[in-house]
Symmetry: C2
Subunit: 320 residues, 2 copies
């Protein structure tokens, strides 16, 4: 069993690669829910949906989020009713939000609601919200505190992020399914998602880091920073304003801050010269091509990460 | 001020005619809510939406219900998730259900939620749910009791209706806005909607009939049966299985059963020979063309109904 921790588009791509590289049902993906919010009374889970649509093979190939070929007629009518259509909900996409919201109103957990949607889409991997409890990422900017989607979508990440808060995370409970997936994992992969606001909330859920530390499974991260830039999203600017080095070495330093939790970092060939610095942080480094295009590419990177993980596991068992 | 009581498509057409024939803001329409139901966690109000879309000029011109040119992508995805797409929700239409459901969850009354949607659509007429409390039409058939939309949509009205129950109506409260609209009305029009399951529930809300009886305003009904057939829907078969004559005279007998509440019935030229029988029931009869096509046609019928109402009011004041 392989466990991946993922945020949105970048994480979803590697999760899809892992699902393609592994026998069906051998992958669990724990997904960030701190970006979730309510809109027009519907519960929206951007990262879960991106991973769901990607694993189901229906994700929009250009954006990486949303459903391929989706239309926006419902949102147009919502705008006609005078409401701000700031968050681009597709018509097919809205079906997901409607059905998830229905199940939550009926008393289902988010874990249950997501499992049902994933099963209906024929997704064999386990898709696991990091928690069923409400956690909300808030970002402090020079102009004040913003809800995450205000920062990310409405204001298009134009604000400097001075600090980040995961509101509610202290009391968020780790779902049994996540604890079980950690316990069963032979390898844990931190996908190339934003380390601050995508993987940060997952790793902040009480009990998760202790569970990872208690496991013998190697933890391999894949750098979302290539050549000093984020492949997608504001991770590079966010690292800078939060005082981190904007490079794969900066990502390594960040993960090294978890005191032995992360064993290795996969970096792109463009950053090969950073490998010695990364190893100086106590992380093993694998240099390969980490920029993922189509499904073949995603599977190729996944296979390399899996092989690297097996090496680390062998080396670990030799040490013991 | 003119007050119309309406169900779905037929009622909406005459309501639109009245809105076009009157100065803006002089029409209130009380609409049946006993067909309302919840679907995928959304509150659906078929009759209110039909009247809303028709008054807003966006109703589908072929069906009479739904929004013109609407698509069904969200419903397709709901079906892809394995749910039964038995009720044909359009994408733009779903926006209405989402926003109404949101407001109801926030604690707004249905009256408030509907008023906001109507105002946003530029509808000058007052659109009033018959009650803000839950009422559900149930039909007893040879195969057992059915929820109204199961009978009407899912089973396409194929069952004989042996009796009808308006579940919850005994405790349903008449909204203040409806009571005020009755008190202010110079004329009350019972639109050519199904007298059993569209106007029946409205007239069954406690307090409405007493308010109408206390008003000096004439009450004019328009027959939904023309030439022994319903213009739309199952009213004809329903009248038959419930033991009523399937004709404008049968409708007159039904309304005469309200003991003086209804003053007159407007019937189609095809039924001119029934006028003496209708008058024998104590109702005045107006014979004209009641089959409504386009907006001009609806306004023409509305003008005739308004003129007839004024005559009745004059005659009534002469009697007093």
């Amino acid at each position: 069993m392989i466990l991946a921790l993922a945020g949105g588009v970048g994480g979803a791509k590697l999760a899809q690669g892992l699902a393609l590289a592994l026998p069906p049902g051998e992958l669990s993906v724990v997904v960030n829910t701190a970006d979730d919010f309510e809109l027009y009374g519907l519960r929206i889970c951007p990262d879960l949906d991106t991973v769901l649509y990607t694993l189901a093979g229906i994700a929009d190939p250009v954006n990486g989020w949303g459903i391929a070929g989706d239309t926006h007629h419902a949102l147009g009518q919502i705008a006609a009713y005078g409401r701000d259509p700031w968050f681009r909900l597709g018509d097919r996409d809205i079906a997901t939000h409607i059905l998830r919201t229905e199940r939550l109103r009926q008393g289902a957990t988010l874990t249950e609601a997501v499992a049902e949607l994933a099963a209906a889409c024929g997704v064999a991997s386990r898709l696991l919200p990091m928690t069923d409890d409400p956690v909300a990422t808030l970002v402090d900017t020079p102009g004040g505190r913003l809800a995450f989607q205000d920062y990310f979508v409405a204001r298009r990440q134009r604000d400097d992020v001075l600090s980040v808060v995961f509101d509610g995370v202290e009391t968020a409970r780790l779902p049994d399914g996540v604890a079980a997936a950690v316990a069963a994992a032979e390898l844990v992969v931190l996908c190339p998602s934003n380390p601050i606001v995508s993987l940060g909330p997952i790793l902040a859920v009480p009990g998760l880091r202790a569970a990872l530390a208690a496991s013998a499974a190697p933890v391999v991260a894949v750098s979302p920073i290539v050549g000093g830039r984020a492949l997608k999203g504001p991770a590079d600017r966010m690292l800078a304003t939060l005082g981190h080095e904007v490079s794969a070495a900066g990502v390594a330093a960040l993960y090294a801050g978890f005191h032995g939790l992360v064993d290795a970092l996969v970096i792109d060939g463009a950053d090969a010269d950073l490998a010695p610095r990364i190893e100086a942080f106590g992380l093993r480094a694998l240099v390969t091509s980490t920029v993922m295009g189509d499904a073949d590419d995603r599977r190729r990177l996944a296979r390399e990460v899996l092989a690297f993980g097996r090496q680390l596991a062998l080396a670990g068992s030799e040490v013991r």
